[in-house]
Subunit: 454 residues, 2 copies
């Protein structure tokens, strides 16, 4: 049970600081600005921090603690952790760096920490992490200041990351895109709580619809990881971005989080076999998570593409072919029906090119006439064309009642971005290129297939 | 000579309209809002348009014309074109659709147009195009309204596109990203002026540093296309996004611009052999063009990566390996020098992980100590970390004096986006993912290699 890491009622911040700009200052600010539970700042200096009194140590805090965040020099961490164990704190986040990721000496220090918690009820996330963030409980142990890194709103993507920088960048990006998270965990060196523990926990978490993972190397045993994966992927989509896949990349990973990155092929095979979705790169991790958080998985791989720009239809077709999705032709009935509705230049195929003369109502007619045959649709809605009225937002949103996944593709400048945001606010994910939309659809369909076969 | 298409002194707009929202209204507005030359609106209705008098026909205009833009129903186009020929107009842009892209009848109509200009000095761009745009001369025949599609500023990317929608979307995107173009041409059905004519013309254009092309199928003969490519690629980087590469994609292209898309393999071989850069997808067309417009080509493929986030370094390494770039180790001298400068956790390898404790001055020292050995660098500057001061902008900008290409990678929310825009204003392109930065670097290096071997 890792609940205390996400919804603690009382938290101590060891290393809370008086000095703006310091890690310990940002942490103090995160709590002072609106954490609904109790919190205690630990600092040997009795001068209050943000008008809150300080405590010289964890053990001097006169109340029980659910969680302790440690942000002091690495060599001081063992002593603090010992106090946490003595105080029966169940959740400890060690933000401090300077452990196994730095070489032999750091590795020894980390071993010492492991011994301290061994056989106790104290669980540790870290060391060498950016922190834990839960928008629902308002817990925020991320030490990056909000003017540099925005926090995402409440949502259904759980994001767990071995690399703090990758994590914080994606969290910042998600917030900019207006996409919410259920939980964010940077788990770093994983001296105790590892990716498998988190996967297992998140698979039971009601707020989490999809789990996105950045991983350099698995920290649990291979056996544990596989059995976890098997179980979790039956319940929820899990998307992995595995880095250190090439030989050189794997060396780089070793000096980063001290991971043995392992053979790329082994990882890919395991992911495929147990139904996890592998994202080929950073952007796809984000794209796929967005798709799963907003749309249902598909029941098959028959894709319908409708566009108001022919070139985008061609690019979508190329990518669909590469992804081995089925762009089956329309039924003769649908063709007959549509020929009466759309104007002469339109191309009543799949992709269906409604051309620049189309509007919201053409999209609706086209979708409804063709859809019964397909498992889902990509609607390319290029907003540069003025005939496409703003009511397309409502139209597309309402088409979701058919129960099949719909992804949109639109790109451009300020007007397009505004329209895309409105579509996403109505639950329809929008991708800036046809290729990215198609790859996201393929991810939905891969998961759907695994669920059917599982 | 296609000069009249980009810097005409007098232009007639046939089909200029009184009705807001109509194509002919947007065209009239484009000219009325600030075209520095003369312009004439052609419409049978004598009621002025935006306070400019109208003319009933091209031949009724009492002055010579450099250019005519035709935006009337397809069946009316032959008559108008004939008048242009009679008036010795050298540049005609036919915006109207309804020609070879729509089937047999349209094909015949287009043949008729060809006959009209055959043996004359009248050249035609179109039909079925979004238009021509030149921010330097302020010529704008793009029929999409500015509140839907922003126009990019002055810059050095020439963008030519067979698909109007692809073109207008990318132009809109470029404007949003603050990246300028030298010329923008949607050439559609290419009944006369084709991609090869445009490539040849742009290779001599002083304002154009890089040519980006979206193409479904070549419209010139194969022989002409190859000889043009050979010549042009010696002078300037040319980036192609070729769509209709798969079998289904090629069918979709046929019903879009009437192109025979041809075998993907043939195209790729031709591109490679003659030194053109092929972009695998839409996003890369944009990414590569940005790199070439801002940075010099590399002289080799030895890449240095410096990062303040280890995970991003690993992802960059993986992509560099996939792209067959050389991430050679630092020289022993550089390692020795740097070990004295950077703090203990930093990883003095390539990629060089300066960790979250680095600042602008660490980046400068690292770059200068390591650089002599390399052909260029990717600087991953994650702005979420507060130790990275805003002065990093000046630092990175100044490192360009080394004469080697520098690309940056940064991603995130509002603060990061602001910083990225400032970097780009100083001439350093910024990519949101390490993979995209590495692929753009590879494009620079591919062109550099071709230049050396040519």
């Amino acid at each position: 049970m890792l609940d205390k890491f996400f919804s603690p009622k009382s938290v101590a911040i060891v290393g809370a600081s008086h000095t703006p700009g310091k890690v310990g200052y940002v942490l103090a600010e995160n709590f002072a600005r609106g954490f609904p539970g109790k919190f205690f700042f630990v600092n040997p200096d009795p001068e209050p921090i943000m008008e809150h009194r300080t405590y010289p140590s964890v053990k001097s805090i006169p109340e029980p603690l659910d969680m302790v965040v440690i942000a002091v020099k690495s060599t001081l961490v063992p002593k603090v952790l010992k106090e946490c164990v003595d105080k029966k704190v169940e959740a400890v986040v060690i933000v401090s760096a300077g452990f196994s990721e730095t070489g032999e000496e750091g590795r020894k220090l980390e071993e010492q920490l492991k011994k301290i918690i061994n056989g106790t009820k104290t669980r540790v996330i870290g060391p060498n992490v950016v922190g834990v963030f839960d928008p629902h409980s308002k817990l925020d142990t991320v030490f990056l200041p909000r003017d540099r890194m925005n926090r995402p709103k409440e949502g259904s993507i759980a994001f767990i990351t071995q690399s703090g920088a990758v994590g914080s960048t994606i969290a910042d990006w998600l917030s900019e895109e207006g996409i919410g998270v259920s939980k964010f965990v940077s788990y770093g060196n994983a001296m105790d709580v590892n990716e498998s523990d988190l996967l297992e926990y998140l698979s039971e978490d009601e707020k989490t619809k999809v789990i996105a993972v950045y991983i350099e190397g698995v920290k649990a045993t291979g056996k544990r990881f596989i059995s976890t994966l098997k179980k979790v992927c039956k319940k929820k989509p899990v998307i992995f971005l595995k880095s250190g896949k090439t030989e050189k990349g794997s060396h780089a990973a070793a000096s980063h989080t001290g991971s043995i990155a392992g053979s790329a092929r082994v990882y890919s095979t395991v992911f495929r076999q147990f139904g996890a979705i592998e994202a080929p790169d950073w952007e796809e991790l984000f794209d796929f998570a967005k798709a799963f958080s907003m749309q249902p998985a598909t029941r098959g791989d028959r894709l319908l593409v409708i566009t108001n720009g022919g070139g985008f239809g061609v690019l979508a077709t190329d990518e669909a072919e590469r992804q081995k999705l089925r762009l089956d032709p329309l039924t003769p009935q649908a063709v007959e029906k549509l020929k009466k509705i759309v104007h002469g230049y339109a191309s009543v195929h799949n992709p269906m090119d409604l051309t620049a003369d189309s509007n919201a109502s053409t999209y609706k007619l086209a979708f409804e006439a063709a859809m019964p045959k397909y498992d889902g649709a990509i609607l390319i809605t290029l907003f540069q064309v003025p005939t496409l009225e703003e009511s397309i937002i409502e139209t597309v949103a309402s088409l979701q009642s058919h129960g099949k996944p719909i992804l949109c593709c639109a790109a451009g400048g300020s007007f397009s971005n505004r329209m895309s945001q409105r579509l996403e606010a109505r639950g329809v994910p929008v991708y800036p290129t046809p290729e990215r939309a198609v790859r996201a659809f393929e991810a939905l369909s891969r998961f759907g297939k695994h669920q059917k076969s599982a």
